[in-house]
């Protein structure tokens, strides 16, 4: 037994060790190249956002602005009621994240902790709604919300979030299932109610998973175009994507690329900030919940 172990380092592993180097160099080069290509559009997004109106039309495009037009970033607030768009999007996304977290965490807990009758039936039904294309249900939803006089309000964009979203429920259920039963037994012995166990035991232990869900919900709401296009009609209620989409419309003979890029950069800011804050938890959350 011990002789086998002793010979190992001289055998295959050393052969492997020699072979690894060229592979690593090739991988590194490939990564460097693709990363360059991936980041180039982003670089130009930022760089163009800081160019003057004249410079943005120059060909070939300049890599860095010749004179940095920082005023673009204030101009956009004056010309395109950008502040209103931003505020609207933040309000809608904020409520959506709150609603999704609250409802999805409740529902996921119900699926994970209670082996009630019909558990797997409803869970499979839940999973199958992930395959339900939104366009397939949008017309009756539109009719429903217009009968409720919710057109041109934020309600159609917020209220559905409070009824849970399948993907996030699935993620959280996978996570809740991994929490040890003993914790809840201990809680029960201490006379903890079911809702309190959810709040004081399950939720605090699930920070990474909840952060992941919060990010998903925020990105989804922040980026959504179709729903706000359907429901919002007055321009002071538009969300950021709707307002930005209208920027390409025919009222400009030449699209104001520099301002479009300012809008794009500013639209990215909350997502990047959120990702930067929660990155560790986000990646951990995906790994822990394991999309399997």
């Amino acid at each position: 037994m011990s002789t086998v172990k002793a010979t190992r380092p001289l055998g295959p592993p050393s052969r492997l060790h020699r072979r690894i180097k060229p592979v690593k160099i090739a991988s590194f080069t490939a990564l460097l190249l693709t990363t360059f290509l991936m980041l180039l559009p982003l670089f130009f997004m930022v760089s163009t956002s800081l160019k003057s109106k004249r410079e943005m039309l120059r060909f070939p495009p300049t890599f860095l602005p010749e004179s940095w037009a920082w005023s673009n970033y204030t101009d956009i607030f004056d010309t395109l009621q950008f502040g209103t768009l931003y505020k609207n999007s933040l309000i809608i996304a904020g409520f959506s994240v709150f609603g999704t977290l609250l409802s999805s965490a409740l529902v996921a807990y119900g699926f994970a902790r209670y082996r009630g009758r019909g558990n797997s039936f409803w869970f499979i039904l839940l999973l199958s709604t992930m395959m339900l294309p939104y366009p397939a249900i949008m017309i009756p939803q539109f009719v429903l919300f217009s009968q409720m006089q919710w057109i041109d309000t934020f309600l159609p964009l917020i209220v559905p979030a409070f009824f849970g979203s399948a993907y996030n429920i699935f993620l959280l259920r996978q996570f809740f299932s991994t929490l040890p039963e003993e914790l809840f037994d201990a809680g029960r012995i201490d006379g903890c109610g079911e809702l309190r166990m959810w709040r004081t035991i399950a939720l605090p232990l699930s920070a990474p998973a909840l952060a992941t869900v919060a990010i998903f919900a925020f990105i989804y709401s922040w980026n959504d175009l179709l729903t706000p296009v359907l429901y919002l009609s007055s321009s002071d209620k538009f969300t950021l994507p709707v307002g930005m989409a209208s920027l390409t419309s025919s009222r400009f003979r030449i699209p104001p690329w520099h301002l479009l890029m300012v809008a794009s950069v500013l639209a990215m800011v909350p997502i990047v900030t959120l990702f930067a804050i929660a990155q560790k938890q986000f990646v951990e959350g995906i790994v822990l919940t394991g999309i399997k």
């Binding site: 055998g11 295959p12 592979v23 690593k24 590194f28 490939a30 990564l31 990363t35 991936m38 980041l39 180039l40 559009p41 982003l42 130009f44 070939p60 495009p61 409802s103 409740l106 529902v107 119900g110 699926f111 902790r113 209670y114 082996r115 009630g116 558990n119 039904l125 709604t129 992930m130 395959m131 339900l132 294309p133 366009p135 397939a136 249900i137 017309i139 009756p140 539109f142 429903l144 009824f163 849970g164 429920i169 079911e194 175009l225 179709l226 296009v229 994507p241 989409a245 920027l247 390409t248 690329w257 890029m261 794009s264 639209a267 997502i271 990155q279 990646v283 790994v287 999309i291 399997k292």
Partner: protein, 299 residues
């Protein structure tokens, strides 16, 4: 006996209590809309006046409608190119970044970064990149002596421009693949290594089967997303030029909210629903033999 019974009753009670938000939401925001959409699809309906029953007329019209077939062709062509390539790229990036390599954290973030750009912002950015006069894309092609086409203004290239753009977000798939790769037991790979298996064999016989559930999940979600492309068509091309980017959901949206033909549009919606279900069912069926789940082949 009665203790067991009351315990199971208690479990059932709390389960339904906790899942009730979703149950109610399912009834109001999924089941009811699906069923009324089915009903609308047999009617002439403009959303304002009450629907008028017309039998299968919407469906027969659809199959004779040129724009319907155009939208099917556009959507399928986009899907069958962009989804597999995105999956391969995502997997490739993940494999490269699963090794210990310098700057790994930087590379991972950089690859994922484009996925953080919203659909509209991305569409605006690439609208500029594909601009034939001042855009970045043709400028870069000119380094290699290639005179690029007028991408989005040319019916032959507009769809391919959108496919190229879609590859930019392959990093979001990479994150999921990376998570999957972390679940592959190192002991299995070491054992195969000792048996003299090469990198490629290890990938084919161990890594790929172990991450096949992630692959399957992404394939299905990728297909469903791709069948629903809307933003790009709405922001960048309005379905043009000459209907070359007339995506299925853009067609559906136009029928319902521009032409006020919600009945016809509901028929389109139901065809989409059936196609998505069929695709999913076929893939699940075919994959049963190839997808490996820890602890047996369940779910």
């Amino acid at each position: 006996m009665s203790v067991i019974k009351s315990e199971s009753r208690r479990q059932t009670f709390y389960m339904y209590l906790f899942i009730s938000p979703w149950l109610i939401g399912f009834l109001i925001f999924a089941l009811y809309p699906i069923l009324s959409s089915l009903y609308y699809s047999f009617t002439d309906y403009d959303i304002i006046h009450p629907p008028k029953f017309i039998g299968l007329a919407n469906y027969t019209e659809m199959f004779h409608n040129e724009l319907f077939w155009r939208s099917v062709k556009v959507t399928l062509r986009y899907t069958f190119i962009s989804v597999p390539v995105q999956l391969l790229l995502g997997l490739g990036f993940a494999l490269l970044l699963h090794q210990t390599i310098p700057w790994r954290g930087f590379f991972r973030t950089a690859m994922y970064f484009p996925s953080m750009v919203s659909g509209v912002a991305m569409s605006l950015l690439w609208y500029w990149i594909f601009n034939p006069q001042i855009g970045l894309f043709n400028y870069m092609l000119s380094w290699f002596g290639i005179h690029g086409p007028a991408w989005l203004m040319n019916p032959d290239t507009a769809l391919y421009a959108l496919i190229i753009m879609s590859l930019w977000t392959a990093g979001s798939g990479m994150i999921l693949f990376l998570a999957g790769l972390q679940g592959v037991p190192a002991s299995l790979i070491e054992a195969a290594n000792l048996d003299g298996a090469g990198r490629f064999r290890i990938f084919l016989n161990i890594t790929l089967p172990m991450i096949s559930p992630v692959l399957l999940f992404q394939l299905i979600m990728g297909l469903i997303d791709s069948f629903q492309v809307f933003t790009q068509a709405f922001v960048m091309t309005q379905g043009g030029p000459n209907y070359s980017t007339w995506f299925y959901v853009y067609n559906l949206y136009t029928s319902a909210f521009k032409e006020y033909r919600a009945g016809y549009s509901s028929a389109l919606a139901w065809v989409l629903l059936i196609v998505v279900m069929l695709f999913t069912a076929v893939i699940m069926r075919l994959s049963r033999r190839y997808v490996h789940y820890e602890g047996g082949n369940r779910r």
